[in-house]
Symmetry: C2
Subunit: 347 residues, 2 copies
């Protein structure tokens, strides 16, 4: 296949330096290089959509976490919807769409055997393939698994979720409504707040930027909070804490407010306040990432597939055009600028 080498140039974005605090454009570098050549069993993928997700901030740091960091000068990691352009694997042919971990680049090699399934959205008529990076992919499964395994909202209980216009939060709230819970969604700004109430049917929607937010949250939860789906942290968590009921469950899948913290804030050390609340109210606070519950994934695809087909679960996408805009897309995402699942249309 050597005659194909020069047909494709690979554009890629690497980690140029580790951020101190919020990432800046200087932490990224765009490079061009010849596209790689597949060997036996491999395929060459062209990236169609790249997912941007809060966890990527963590990979830019070298602090111990659940996944190794991206090394300096390495391509930024990321989930993609990719198209097979050359195949030396019998199960895949040019034109096939797959979900892959191709990262922030236009071309990537992959072992055909690792692309466990071709993208298959036959029942989601009209859905963009990028859905497989959002409500029908990792963020949607994060919501589904966190509720199924930890949050367990019951009919009549009150569930609170923040970043509720994002792909995890919006899905959490809608599934909880289907389970019979009362849902209070929190987002930044009036447009997102109105979307939660008017489009997604949440019982109450609040804007965390409102100076009266904490009082509004209390008023919105007259019977307290039974499930707080934590993907934010910061002042929202502070406002939630005093409202948690006995036996409340707090699945923790993200803490975007803290990803760029450089130092702990000074003041009272509230760590023992939290542990005492965990004791007195018999809370369950449990961290997870979706792959911890991967055995549930087939069930998720079936149930979510049916919900999407029937229009029961709604979703929004926020499309960034062009790989070169991915760094600014992630920087904005970490500030809450996105309205819906943020993906980059790469080609």
């Amino acid at each position: 296949m050597s005659e194909h080498i020069n047909e494709h140039f690979n554009t890629r974005i690497v980690l140029a330096s580790r951020p101190h605090g919020e990432p800046t454009p200087e932490n990224f570098r765009l490079e061009r290089a010849p596209a790689p050549t597949p060997h036996a069993g491999q395929v060459l993928l062209r990236t169609r959509f790249l997912s941007l997700d809060p966890y990527m901030r963590g990979r830019m740091s070298d602090a111990k976490s659940y996944a190794p960091p991206v090394e300096i000068d390495e391509v930024m990691v990321g989930r993609t919807v990719s198209e097979v352009v050359e195949s030396l694997h019998p199960g895949l042919a040019p034109g096939d769409l797959v979900t892959a971990d191709a990262g922030w680049q236009t071309y990537a090699l992959a072992e055909g055997a690792t692309l466990t399934r071709k993208l298959n959205l036959p029942d989601l008529a009209g859905a963009s393939p990028s859905t497989a990076l959002g409500v029908y992919g990792m963020p949607g499964f994060t919501a589904y698994a966190g509720l199924h395994e930890i949050g367990k909202p019951k009919a009549g209980e009150t569930l609170v979720v923040a970043a509720a216009a994002g792909p995890v939060g919006a899905t959490v709230g809608q599934i909880a409504k289907l389970r019979g819970a009362r849902v209070v969604g929190i987002a930044g700004g009036a447009a997102k707040r109105d979307y939660l109430r008017d489009e997604l049917g949440f019982d109450v929607a609040l804007d965390h930027r409102d100076p009266e937010f904490a009082a509004q949250l209390q008023a919105a939860c007259p019977d307290g909070i039974d499930v707080y789906f934590e993907n934010v942290g910061g002042p929202v968590f502070d406002a939630v804490l005093p409202l948690l009921n006995d036996f409340a469950r707090v699945p923790v899948c993200g803490l975007i407010a803290h990803y760029s913290d450089t130092d702990l804030p000074l003041g009272q050390d509230r760590m023992s306040l939290l542990t005492q609340l965990i004791l007195k109210r018999r809370l369950t606070v449990r961290g997870f990432i979706q792959r911890d519950f991967i055995a549930l994934y087939p069930q998720f695809l079936r149930e979510m597939g049916a919900w999407l087909r029937d229009g029961v679960i709604k979703y929004r996408e926020d499309v960034v055009e062009g790989l070169e805009n991915a760094p600014q897309g992630l920087i904005g995402l970490l500030k809450g600028e996105n309205f819906g699942k943020r993906v980059v249309r790469v080609s």
Copy 2:
């Protein structure tokens, strides 16, 4: 039965004032009054043993918790082993021993129907009835239920428990050993430390007062910590945190280091440090009290009864003589002065 009124004088200890910080003798008042007279269905109980437990500090405060506070001038609450001295209930006769919630007093009335079972230690040959307040009662069940429902130690895992010479901690460590875990116990002082190692067979025993404690704990846990049974808080928790493994479980049944806190300490606010650790390491931190798992109680009695009968589980008691010494007994307990389960021999 009115002719019996003056046969008995009731000595009782009431809450005189709420403590600010650590309790003092002035927070208690000893009173004498005629013993009450049972009506139909009731029994008059004479207290044989009164249990002293860390949770009592919480009942002296009016902060919201899982149980209502003791009111000023009310008798302090407490679990007892009591003897029936008069009975107007067909199922109980004078001389019967029962476990009851008679509180800090020599005589109390109880509805016979609420004394669900007579004390029955037939298989624990030679055991003091006070065992029903310790390893064979609430503290033992706290250990059993917290491990069964939350801690779930597996063979080969490392479990750490503090206050390990106390009735909960000692039982936690011994049950975990029976489940095949490696057990690191923490206590205050050399005598307790040696007891854990030499009498209870813990793999490692540490003295939290040692200036090198944090380094010793790290050295004692070369493979990290899979279960931390939390009944202490404070500096022990601080030393445990960095050692927790992915998917570690932290049952929280007590935080004795914080019960007399009046203000949160100043410095860095580590609350978000804890939540970030919960996320990154996918920890489960869950508060409980033993009655949350009361359905397990019959199973506990069966299994613990066999362990005690066979001498597999060992225990120590720390007996305070005389009800009038109960206040000092509780004050000392909260400082870790007890060595084993602290009970008051009342009569």
